[in-house]
């Protein structure tokens, strides 16, 4: 647990340490012989590179960074409050229609507004991409902007300070000694090195001054943490944009196609749900089999915490229940054959209800069956009611007996049978690996930043000038000949105070030891 105190340019300036701004300002002054120092006269003389510099300055502005982070926070809020759908659903006009029809029940007149702003698919919407990209650029610019300084502090630290620095430094210390300057500096160096400081000599005050710092390299931690966040943002965008997520209702004993050009089929060999005596769920498990053609490529018992993984796809146990096997044909061609999960119950509990979007149309089909053990619903046992909707409008409704097709909205609907299904969520997420890489880097970068605080201090040995009028005093009241002075620009905080105290006390001990050894007794 250590602190990273910011180098305060304004504080340092009056303490005799040149600020980084001052250094930067010097670097920026370019004098060209014969050029008019008054600057460009016409608009045409502004170099193209100025545009890039302007963009760069824009992105490393902390205000811009803050606004972008706030914008991200707003998106986070939207993402958790507004019902979200996938980019794939949004891209398909028919599916989008039926999604919006359902959304309207919740958001009413706001639905078109939310839709137009892209808030139903917030994390795949163009404004979000813009915000994320700008945030990534902002972090990149902020980090880039700091790299030269971090490099400098490690490789070319500011070794020299003016003597008056030691009168004004935020944190100061001093150790009196009679040792000669060389011995005093050697002792100081030894103590500082024992405290894991890197000690450099100040060539502008040879034999008189030292510079010392600790963990000057740890700025790399900040760089890693910030760059890792860009990786995390990218991972999130990749997941939202290219990830596949599909809920499959696999009839127990039945098979569904995995799709997505995999040529795979998924079979649920069995499903069981067990409960405790109090009726709390104890375990859900599906025995799943993945096949390519006739060849079984994977088979596993799938529980909530142990998904089946194959070929970049994962199959998770999410739900289970009763489904209706439904077949739909158009002109004799089968267009839909799936187990439709009956996820809802009618208000009186007498009916079980499911829904699906009819492929290739803007129609939504609601399937209603009698709930198990109930005979008082709108649908007789052994039959299914098909209700066909276009948006809010009910186009048609037909009751179909098991196994017999009924015609409606130009299609033939058949209710095959009722059976149990297991709800499997299929995922393929190319962003995942980046998310873990980014997270690991974030944690590593942060740990470096917070565990290896950058510290530095300056040391100067000063000879105390004897007042001319007094006689030199012998004995314990003798004034020490010299003062070893310490100065640091860090603010006085407890942890730094303790470090300085330790150094000062250790140095005093060290000098006392030297004294004891050196003095013939």
């Amino acid at each position: 647990m250590t602190t990273d105190h910011r180098f305060r340019p304004e504080a340092a300036a009056d303490e005799g340490v040149p600020t980084r701004d001052a250094i930067a300002a010097h670097g920026a002054v370019v004098t060209v012989d014969g050029a008019d120092p008054g600057g460009p006269k016409g608009g045409g003389e502004v170099a193209v590179s100025e545009l890039f510099r302007w963009v760069y300055r824009f992105f490393y502005s902390k205000t811009v960074g803050l606004i972008l982070i706030l914008a991200m926070a707003v998106y986070a809020l939207i993402g958790s409050l507004v019902t979200q759908t996938s980019a794939a659903v949004w891209a398909d006009p028919a599916q989008r229609e039926s999604f919006l029809a359902r959304a309207e029940e919740v958001y009413g007149a706001w639905t078109p507004v939310l839709g137009a702003l892209g808030l139903f698919h917030a994390f795949t919407s163009v404004p979000f991409y813009v915000v994320v990209t700008m945030l990534a650029l902002s972090i990149l610019a902020c980090t880039t902007h700091r790299i030269p300084e971090l490099w400098r502090r490690n490789r070319h630290p500011h070794v020299h300070v003016a003597p008056r620095f030691f009168d004004k430094a935020r944190s100061r210390g001093s150790v009196p000694t009679d040792a000669d300057p060389a011995t005093a500096l050697a002792a100081t160096r030894a103590v500082l090195e024992r405290h894991r400081f890197r000690v450099l000599t100040d060539d502008r005050a040879p034999g008189q001054a030292l510079y010392a710092d600790r963990h000057a390299w740890s700025g790399i931690g900040t760089v890693i943490a910030h760059l890792s966040f860009i990786v995390i943002l990218a991972a999130f965008v990749i997941s939202a944009s290219f990830g596949i997520e599909e809920d499959l209702a696999v009839p127990v004993g039945g098979t569904v196609e995995v799709g997505h050009d995999t040529g795979l089929t998924l079979t649920a060999l069995s499903f069981s749900d067990t409960y405790t005596e109090q009726g709390r769920p104890a375990d859900y498990v599906s025995e799943l089999q993945l096949r390519r053609g006739d060849e079984v490529v994977a088979q596993q018992e799938v529980r909530v915490n142990s998904p089946l993984e194959y070929g970049g796809f994962r199959f998770h146990q999410t739900t289970f229940g009763i489904a209706a096997d439904v077949r739909v044909a158009l002109d004799g061609q089968e267009v839909f054959a799936e187990a439709v999960p009956l996820k809802w119950a009618s208000n009186d509990g007498a009916n079980a209800v499911g829904r699906f979007d009819l492929p290739g149309t803007d129609l939504e089909v609601v399937v209603v069956l009698a709930a198990s053990g109930r005979t008082d619903g709108v649908v007789p046992v052994g039959a299914a009611l098909f209700e066909i909707y276009r948006g809010e409008e009910r186009v048609d409704a037909k009751v179909a007996l098991q196994g017999a097709a009924v015609s409606s909205a130009g299609h033939d609907f058949t209710f095959e049978r009722e059976r149990q299904f297991t709800g499997i969520r299929m995922r393929q997420d190319p962003g995942e690996v980046w998310m873990w890489i980014g997270s690991a880097l974030l944690v590593i970068g942060m740990s470096i930043t917070f565990s290896f605080a950058y510290r530095r201090l300056w040391v100067r040995v000063e000879t105390i000038s004897e007042p001319a009028t007094t006689e030199p005093v012998e004995g314990p009241d003798a004034r020490p000949a010299r003062l070893i002075r310490f100065g640091a620009v860090e603010r006085s905080v407890a942890s730094y105070q303790r470090l300085l105290e330790d150094i000062v006390a250790d140095l005093d001990d060290e000098l006392a030891d030297l004294d004891a050894k050196g003095e013939p007794s």
Partner: protein, 310 residues
């Protein structure tokens, strides 16, 4: 098993008693006329008189070398009891958590009771570390009451052991996830306590209160523990969600609350490092951060979501 659990609950009662005792001792020490009980400045060095401003620190060695090497003066008198009681309270809670873990066979994450107790464990642990490192007992005035209230809350909840619902049957990841949450939240409580004392400092007319800036420093240091721990907690949560639900981030309300908490502590650190925020403004951010922690923690009472198993 249930008799053992009932007996174990006495550990919580004991812990509460010791927390209150420690708090009382500390109140007496801090308001005492006798002497500066809280060892503030090290005895190895003197802090020069006539310090120009509170922002400046001047150190020089103590003339008497024999008095050195004793920064942590041995605890004596009431201070010994105060620290002892706090330590016993910590040990009681730790024993309770370990006992429960050994009985249930999983980490303390199956219900709100277990998590409340773990929260207390984190707070007491973080408090003891800071008291030891900084030699500051005034912090207890703000931190121990939080622990006491949470203990009372934990004791009011159903402590029964239920089998884990399927989503929670992932022992290692969840124990780690909750473990880091405990560290993060414990440090957050300490940094909130320090921030509160920083803000109240001018109003508190207590004899043995350390310098105001010390609380600013403690608040910052605790936050530099909270932030990485929160990060690890969130990442582990994401790893778990990825196996259990097939996605690492789902904008579940509890996840979002954790993210907001993380953003607040991130804002605090950034404001401090890049804007030089210190003192009042940053103390307020720490209070807001801890409110977010509490919100994320109690969140499942306000909103449903996948985390609402408790």
């Amino acid at each position: 098993m249930s008799e053992v659990l009932q007996l174990a609950e006495y550990l919580l009662t004991a812990s509460l008693v010791f927390v209150v005792l420690a708090l009382i001792c500390n109140v007496v020490i801090i308001t005492s006329r006798q002497r500066r009980a809280a060892v503030q400045t090290s005895e190895r060095v003197t802090v020069a008189a006539g310090v120009p401003s509170s922002d400046t620190l001047v150190v020089s060695p103590v003339p008497d070398r024999s008095r050195r090497r004793r920064r942590r003066a041995p605890l004596s008198g009431l201070a010994w009891y105060a620290t002892g009681f706090a330590a016993i309270a910590f040990v009681c809670v730790l024993a309770y958590v370990l006992l429960r873990m050994s009985l249930t066979g999983h980490g303390p994450f199956s219900n709100q009771h277990e998590f409340a107790v773990s929260f207390v464990l984190g707070i007491l642990g973080a408090y003891l570390v800071v008291e030891f490192v900084y030699q500051v007992r005034a912090l207890s005035l703000a931190v121990l009451p939080i622990a006491a209230v949470l203990l009372l809350y934990a004791m009011s909840l159903d402590a029964g052991v239920q089998p884990l619902i399927p989503a929670l049957q992932n022992n290692l990841l969840l124990t780690l996830h909750v473990g880091f949450a405990i560290l993060a939240y414990g440090a957050a409580a300490v940094s909130c306590g320090a921030a509160a004392l920083y803000l109240l400092h001018p109003k508190l007319r207590l004899r043995n209160l350390p310098a105001r800036d010390l609380f600013d420093d403690i608040g910052y240091k605790a936050a530099t523990v909270t932030f990485p721990m929160l990060t690890i907690m969130i990442v582990l949560g994401a790893v778990w969600a990825n196996t259990a639900w097939g996605r690492y981030w789902g904008w579940d309300p509890k996840e979002t609350a954790a993210l907001v908490t993380w953003l607040i502590y991130g804002a605090y650190l950034h404001a401090r490092v890049t804007r030089g925020w210190q003192g009042t403004r940053s103390a307020v951010l720490l209070l807001v951060g801890f409110l977010a922690v509490l919100f994320a923690y109690f969140g499942n009472h306000f909103f449903g979501g996948l985390h609402s198993y408790a």
